[in-house]
Symmetry: D3
């Protein structure tokens, strides 16, 4: 796999990629350069036909990510530089808007990635950790995960995607509002109860194991079926039922023209393990 | 009640219809002819003024439905025939799209039905079982229910409505994605925990009893109120709050011109059982 | 604080307003004059820069509110008067639509209020109680709360907002439909399980305490951050992810031009309590 | 071609069907039975692979259609029968809504038809004439056409589609509102000036000739290309640019897998007339 | 009719109200107090059952309105006062947003008005003149009208509705963008050619005459039909065809329960002038 | 200005950039490498604070662009290569979808560009010429322009944006469908009549002059006002009026915090030429 400055990528299992945010000495906190590279990582995996499922975690035991590296951001981040250029409120706004949109688009690469992404939340998961994980398809938590939509505590509303996606990821709007307005830290069990995560495991190692197992399972299935399912579910989230049924019909009018259907059915009948062409 | 080839319809209680998928020897698996008739069943009940609530279940103890009859589909289904007509990818796609849309529209008749539909999930509930049950209004499970969004296992994305409606029926997107991507079987308790079903009963008989009781309760209420509530809730699912409030205002500007309001209020005061004109 | 005829308003804590529906001898049931004043209350608090969080409850121990004062409504309410003016179905509908829209807009003032609203559900919470509480941001229940979408029992579909907002507030559509179609009373624990409320406390006093504590916490945070978070979450509920990200980017391009960010960060570092300019 | 009671269908040119509303002695006015058959006509042509373009006109010289046969409607139409069943405002409304939806759906069959429909407006074109013609793809007028959104003159708002589609078919909202609110008759030249029709010809015969010529031209092109273009343009009308680009990408991912592209290109180079497989 | 400070209201014809912006010495330029009163005027007319059509013009010969009274706005307008309260960018933005929303809502009262509004554009029609007139249903211009989306020339984008509604009122997006980006003045003939206005008359008097004639015509029709048509057309502008057909069906399920249909039909047959009950 | 391989960029006037498609010997036909560079050109200009308006034309006298270089596309384009990799219909579709989306996104850079783009259509303007020009803000045609939505003639539906944007750019849906379904060539006068272009000039030189004059005018205005106007108009095209008013309010809450307003007003009063800070 390609090598990156701030992320570790390897392939622990056939067709399974593992992405680690790799700045453990700083609790995997992000700065500008990192989220630009983050997008490259996921855009590349998205079209890598040797990858059928992705696991995302933080390097080290202490944090998935503590979020934005506030110190770096306040010293010399793009946002800072931009804001310094002018005192005109409208011009500052224009520059900030550009920066926010770039940042949003980098993180959204996880959602746009054609392959399913399983996110393992462990240790400190603050701020950006939630922007990223709400973009992932499945979330698994380690029992030690400490999660917070932390942005209110630094004087701002989360703008990289958490507030946008969370109401569509968790069914209790009362809970979503409470944790978003208060920046309260919540743990793995609470996250499971409200449906934010699908599983809780006793520690990071066990959570990684569960994620790898799930990734291996998804990687063994028809990639046409799996990737179509991700796409159609994401479409459904943002569209009416009628519009989404129409889209699904068109999508499958092409997707059903695959040999995967026959291969999968035959394997089912013969109790063999199917192999599928790359995608 | 009318008689059908693949469905049993009876009226066990006043104003309550019971629809059974009636191909138990094949685990109530569906083929083309069946879903066309399925639509006739629900379109007819929708405007039958002797019906105020509907219970839907599978005949026999083994399955609500095992889904698409894959064998029949691969041998001589419409889809197959259509695809055989041409090798041109675009033309194949056009034919498939037509078939998918017909199929979607047949199953959607449960959602479009003006009367509330209570679905009892029991035994095997694979593939199409979820397309159908997500169209129903209320779901009750028997403890033995084994549910799966099975389509990925036969090489395709569920396209008859499960992927479209499930994210709007269950609040945990992480769970929805996990079961849809993996085709993992889940049971009644899990379905209750995530909110897919409203109740779990120890066996099919008890689940049927609970469904009948609920149907009887709904059938005893003002049909204007009950049917309006179904319609407005379905509208709300697919629209913004502002748009839905506007629609509701217009809807009720006609619906409130009913004697049901006075009858219901009087019965409430006099502690009598109200009767309502047919609808 | 201003004084009102049907509502008690006080400020038990700095930047925290407490609104009580004040007609306890009638179980806090509403009539026309009350919902018009209700809107004035919340429109005023919305722009009161001495308020940063609001707690809403019912006066007395017996009810948050029993809903519409049916007796008053049937005797001389606007709806009644209006309907009496004409026998023409279309003209009756026009008048009713106006009344419903006014009523909807009065209750929606809670949702439109720029400050977060924490609603304490206790005792009888019927009909309008749910229209109101689904507009609030966070719901906390007392163990004695008896909740019901009661409208079906008086022959009509809830049209002031419950049916519109409930599917976006609670993740289980099966549950929402069941309680809306049946008018079944449900309790605090069930409300917590499905995510309608965020917390359950053993009695009204304890629930009030929890609400006040949460309000105090929100009031201690940056008002720019808190109010932006409410606005963006409400926008997200009704829009696609793409549209909401765009809106958020524009919103924060102005909101980030606040001294709250620096104040909040500095306080975080210095472990002091930040003060923020009024908003 | 199949034979119908109220419509004449023939095939004057290869791959071109001509549909005539055939009740000239009554100015081609519609009653219930006719619009039900109208839907059958267009649903059948939609999937008839011997048809690639359709021309729609009225039989006789006097009218495309004078609209609803008001006399028949008031005597024994379904609407009338239905309304007679009950005096309950809500129940009347329920029956009327069903009838309107059926009627709307019958007329919309022109829009849903996979093949392009060219509508020739001539003589009297009142009421339903506009509901129908706004569903067509291209409109050509004879100089003698007298058009009117006539419904206001019989005490109702046009509900079969004119009001819904006209603002999306004609760019001047001021003009659309004026003619819809006033029921004013407008002629062919005015219709051309505002863009409602694409061409005006001096009489019905010339207009038919122009329509046939256009139909022949469309029928000579790749049916994949033509039918895809109709579908994507109709999708675009109702969706955001972003959503429509996404839909188009999926659509063409299947449609481009056709031999039509190579055939069309080769014919272009060789200056020959391409032939395309049926669709 | 009621009397207002900044507007002249009279009833020159049965069921026809005439509203004049009445500050001719200042070219009918608006300041805060005026747009608040403007809303009162139209909210009142909206439910005045003695009014069935409204004509809106500017008092005097020189201007419909020259737009915002910039001098007053810069001296002591609410916007100015608000902005002066704080130097915090986010807080300024919050205050401005409130002011803009109030302003937008006042002008939108023309669009929300249940009765059709015919706007006569004459003389100077700058800035706010277009915000207002795009809310009206029909626009008629005097030959001397000088129109401009003037805002760019004072350093801002038009935010009271012109930019929002103009692309839905005029079909040429190229033209809309050109005049909006350049603030170029355009005349009556150009406005007619692009479809912004429906008629051009040689001077204000003739334009008023044409408007009164049209208003009289609309006022002679069934008010149920006319008001339903306005509502459904406005709904159509903002919704998909499918959604709008659904809304129309529900709307007419109540509206058709009117005696206007029979009265209108009978008058048509008997060639008499129908009278309709108030609405 | 930066230098590019396939595009000429210069700055003929202060703050005005001129972009020329520079492959005149091939009628400015596009191939893969060109549209990727096209995006770089416009993304760069979008944030270049020395640019306030852009004119786009084709180099040479013969063509704006003849569209896709079909020969190159059929020989070795990415699309071809991709399709060659596999015979599996679903996999081909996946690759094609990626290519189409990339292509769409490159051309959309004109629409996303923060600065207004004036497009001069001259000579041959086929296929891609319309995808590109519908993304521009204002279109000016030379009398010799020959325009065609040419795609149907090569067996496919236009998928890079023409079909998506054209119905929102031109008000006559009948005309849009006719030219899109038939691939008919239309000229400058027709384009002006239907509103596709804003002006027609007698030849390319005159059209360029008019475009430059307009660009100079836009470049002389407040860049905050001009760029805000473009953004808000594009938002309006794709959103309801209510949603767009909300967005506009938030946008201007930041944009009004500019010194441009005072500078523009002062210049208006003093009849001087304002200068504005870069943006």
């Amino acid at each position: 796999m390609a090598s990156y400055k701030h992320f570790l990528i390897d392939k622990p299992l056939p067709y399974v990629a593992h992405v680690q945010i790799n700045r453990p000495q700083k609790l995997n906190a992000f700065f500008d350069e990192m989220w630009l590279e983050f997008k490259v990582v996921f855009d590349t995996l998205s079209i890598d036909s040797d990858v059928r499922a992705i696991v995302l975690s933080g390097a080290g035991d202490r944090a998935f990510t503590a979020g934005l590296d506030v110190q770096k951001a306040s010293q010399g981040g793009l946002l800072k530089q931009a804001a310094d250029k002018t005192t005109d409120g409208a011009r500052k706004a224009a520059v900030m808007k550009r920066e926010i949109e770039t940042f949003q688009s980098c993180i959204a690469s996880v959602e746009k990635c054609e392959k399913p992404v399983i996110c393992v939340l462990h240790g400190i998961c603050f701020g950006l950790a939630l922007d990223i994980s709400t973009c992932a398809d499945v979330r698994i938590a380690s029992a030690d995960a400490k999660m917070s939509i932390k942005e209110v505590d630094i004087g701002l509303a989360a703008d990289i995607g958490t507030l946008t996606r969370m109401p569509k990821v968790v069914g209790s709007f009362s809970w979503v509002k409470e944790v978003a307005l208060s920046a309260r830290v919540f743990g793995a069990e609470e996250a499971l109860r409200v449906g934010f995560v699908s599983q809780v495991k006793e520690n990071k190692a066990k959570a990684m194991e569960a994620a790898m197992e799930m990734a291996a399972l998804l990687a063994s299935k028809s990639p046409v079926a799996v990737q179509s399912t991700k796409e159609i579910l994401n479409h459904a989230r943002d569209n009416t039922v009628a519009s989404s049924l129409r889209y699904t019909g068109v999508w499958n009018s092409a997707a059903l023209q695959t040999s995967d259907v026959e291969r999968a059915m035959m394997s089912g009948i013969k109790k063999t393990r199917p192999t599928f062409e790359k995608l």
